[in-house]
Symmetry: C2
Subunit: 201 residues, 2 copies
């Protein structure tokens, strides 16, 4: 990219913004310009929010979530059900489940999925920590809420094997038609799974 | 949006990121997570770059560009041709022309275009300042490099009238087929303009 003619400071800001997922070089330029124009309402608060994130956000050593405290708000909340451990690949999956409001258990973030292609082995994920947590007397169920991809399902399989000795029920999310989804747009695998798991009305 | 379960600090960061052009609520969440994961390589430098931008970026009182000095690097560069004033709507247009490397004149940023719909009147743009700059003895040409939109062309027309008394040549960008463009994908107006302005080979 040729210089943006606004000095190295703006250039550097543009280059850093371009590394955010969802922003390319062109949209990063637009974003930088937008920031400089909205100095009071956006640039100042964003700089402040990033400094707060830099100085105060830590990874929870129990579940792998991020928060300003360790253990995180979810792990230290006594109202959440300690009997249920929900295993997710990534923090974004944890957030998605929390937005659904459908479960109030404790979480365990694996930090990825097994992948021969990317060289991710079981010891690269927090599986040992999960097995240790699952063997605690208060835990009765481990829900494997991993993505319905090949890697996700392989990871779920390996975890289920590791947990076979522990005294916990291991479950996984149901496959089926997404709520609001149209059959016409669904793949055959999903339709077959939804048919197999059909229930009486 | 329901809480992201990572405390108000992350929520605030997500909300601010979502206000950048090109990022929505979902991609802002991804960007926030990406930032927290790439703490040393991205979060720290971006926080620093934003603080630098906040503290040091100013608007050039001569041309309207942004830079860390006023007058800006372009206005104070003695190698640039002071005889040519390139009038643009916005700073992003100035950057686009600079990337082309096709002109080494001075710039004048209008700060928008006339628009009855949005209530933008001539006095809302830096037209008076442009007329004053154009009447300087060293200026011999004013290039109206505004967008080829109705509003842009209306603005160019108004500026040309205001400059009719000054001793400067007023020009505008050529219309025609974009370099690399295919005729099949071009609108009729562009094709008609390219035909009218055809040249001998």
């Amino acid at each position: 990219m040729r210089g943006a003619s606004a000095g190295p400071e703006i250039e550097r800001l543009i280059q850093l913004l371009a590394r955010l997922p969802g922003l390319g070089p062109r949209s990063a330029r637009r974003a930088a310009l937008h920031l400089v124009k909205k100095r009071e309402s956006l640039l100042d608060p964003l700089a402040e929010a990033l400094c707060v994130a830099r100085d105060r956000i830590v990874t929870c050593t129990t579940c792998g979530n991020i928060d300003t405290c360790d253990p995180c708000t979810l792990c230290s909340d006594p109202r959440r059900d300690a009997a249920t451990l929900v295993v997710v690949e990534d923090i974004s999956d944890l957030w998605a489940l929390e937005r659904s409001g459908a479960i109030a258990g404790r979480y365990h973030v694996l930090g990825g999925v097994l992948s021969a292609l990317d060289g991710v082995r079981p010891e690269d994920l927090s599986i040992d920590a999960l097995v240790a947590r699952a063997s605690a007397p208060e835990v009765s169920e481990v829900i494997l809420a991993v993505n319905a991809t090949i890697e996700g399902q392989t990871t779920a399989h390996v975890i289920a094997q590791r947990l076979s000795g522990a005294d916990v029920k291991v479950t996984r999310l149901a496959h089926g038609v997404p709520v609001g989804g149209e059959l016409d747009y669904l793949d055959e695998g999903t339709l077959a799974a939804a048919l197999r798991a059909r229930s009486a009305v």
